[in-house]
Amino acid sequence: MNHSLAMKSVLIIGIQGALAKITAELLIKKNSNIKIHGVDSRDIDNVPSRPQLTYQQMKYTRTNFEKIFREFQFDTILHLGRLGHSPAMGNINKRIDINLVGTNTILELAQKFQCKKVVILSTHHVYGALSDNSMFLKEDSPLRGSFKYAELRDVVEMDQMCTNWMWKNQNSIETVVLRPCNIIGPQIKNSITQFLKTPYAPLPVDYNPMFQFVHEFDMANIIVDSAEKLKTGIYNVAGDDVITLHEAAKIINVKKLKVPIVVVEQLAKILTPVWKFPHYLIDYLKYPSTLDNSELKKNLGDDIFRFTAIEALELLKSH
């Protein structure tokens, strides 16, 4: 189904995020008659000034969401508002509230207000980084992200909640769950981008796992394409090329402290106040968690990525 012409009123959750802003710009570029309303629980700034785009900061409560659902009559929901896990990201209650309770409310309201499409941005972290991971995990691989790290529990549960809901309501609403690899770009401020760009961040000398990167612009494009063209389902988002952690660090060309992983682990604990690196990401510096992209390419075509992983890293370096 081509949903592009039908997309009239879009809700973007997490509009303060760089990816959400780029996605909003792309949607407006594609359809100047579109109406987009962005919400975020964080302070909102630097949102592009476009007549088609309105936004508001609000608590993710049912009352607040119901109010905007009634007012804007959304046909499409882009849920890009998952909270990350950096120790600086606040307490666990707030995170669970946003990632689980908030998402549940949004899904219920999407159904109640007869939205046509819901796109949910999950993450490859749901698969976990384990020593026995196959290269190229398919969408039906077990979600083992929270086996070792309780801090990933809400991420895995949110993904599972969305996919369960997706299949249950597939006859009334199209839902797409995207599980992207590492999103990088000059505007993105996620943990892996910060890690790569931080001088003297410790890099394990005894491990060198394979990584996949998707440029923020490509990711935003895929979110738009998902809203327009993808049918109900779960899709991994990753390019064809994989690159090792050490190669990625070399391209970024920022000096790193090369130490054994045990030292990285201790530094991550000691330096928590100044080095905002989620502890679970240590495992991603040891073991691969790479994605099979065949399902996405089967549905969107082979030429969906403008930037290779190396080009995305080069662009990050130049900024």
């Binding site: 020593s131 290269m135 060198n208 796992p209 090792t244």
Partner: protein
């Protein structure tokens, strides 16, 4: 030796791109490792390869007996396929998850071509035209006490299902001479269990003895095209037994002509 490696390097560079593949193989690094391993392969373990003519320029599922307490036999087979075969290649040994989790060793092995031994990886590698090396005896193959040397352990059926699914030919291999690296050994299974490691061999010598090694490559074995990868175990056992017997036969023939420490090839 330098000249020989120049030729091998040229051959392998032609076959592999300079970049890593998705499983982490770094061809330049693998070739550099070969240069270090080769003197041990040639002078110390005095390896002789029999049946080179059975290897053609196409991907195989290379299936071998597993001997010698530590997987040196895998290193020697890989070195043989990279340096002595007409169409040299970097074999992709499928290794235990225990190895991939180890610091330094996991990184070194994947840069040299080793891959976590699971079905998805194996099928994807074969699909890309790579040859994989499998030890279907698993850890049981190398974790043997002295009295069990050269006794083939029961093969698992997973490799057979993967060969059927990928339509690959199986190349049977027997390594003779590797059990003598550590001639007197006992296995402390309880300690292995306690330390959560696959095996805990206790040997009279810490460094492998310079036992001469013979690698026997059998004729390729094709499975019937009508066989399903989801066939019942009972339907696969006939083929499993045939492959086991072929490797057992190669081993027995090798043992008859086994070279002693004194009978090294000049």
């Amino acid at each position: 030796m330098f000249k020989q490696f120049k030729a091998i390097e040229a051959d392998l560079s032609l076959r592999y791109s300079k970049n890593r593949d998705p499983w982490g193989l770094e061809p330049k690094r693998a070739i550099a490792d070969l240069k270090v391993i080769w003197p041990f392969y040639h002078y110390y373990f005095n390896v002789v390869v029999h049946g080179k003519e059975n290897v053609k320029d196409r991907p195989y599922m290379v299936v071998s007996n597993h001997t010698g307490q530590v997987p040196i036999d895998g290193l020697l087979i890989c070195t043989a396929f990279a340096t002595e075969i007409d169409s040299p290649r970097i074999l992709r040994p499928l290794i235990e998850r225990f190895l991939t989790s180890l610091p330094f060793l996991g990184r070194w092995s994947s840069e040299g071509g080793a891959v976590l031994g699971d079905r998805t990886n194996c099928l994807n590698l074969l699909k890309r035209g790579e040859s994989v090396l499998i030890f279907p005896e698993g850890v049981k193959g190398i974790a043997k006490n002295t009295k069990d040397h050269y006794k083939l352990q029961r093969f698992t059926r997973g490799f057979l299902r993967m060969a059927i699914a990928s339509g690959s030919e199986i190349l049977p291999i027997a390594v003779v001479g590797a059990e003598e690296f550590f001639p007197y050994v006992i296995h402390l299974k309880k300690l292995a269990h306690f330390f959560k490691i696959p095996a805990f061999p206790l040997s009279a010598n810490l460094f492998p003895l310079p036992s001469p090694v013979d690698i026997y490559i059998g004729e390729p074995y094709s499975l019937p095209s009508g066989l399903s990868p989801e066939a019942l175990d009972e339907d696969l056992d006939f083929y499993l037994n045939e492959i086991e017997q072929k490797i057992q036969q190669l081993t027995q023939n090798g043992l008859k002509n086994r070279r002693s420490l004194m009978k090294r090839k000049k």
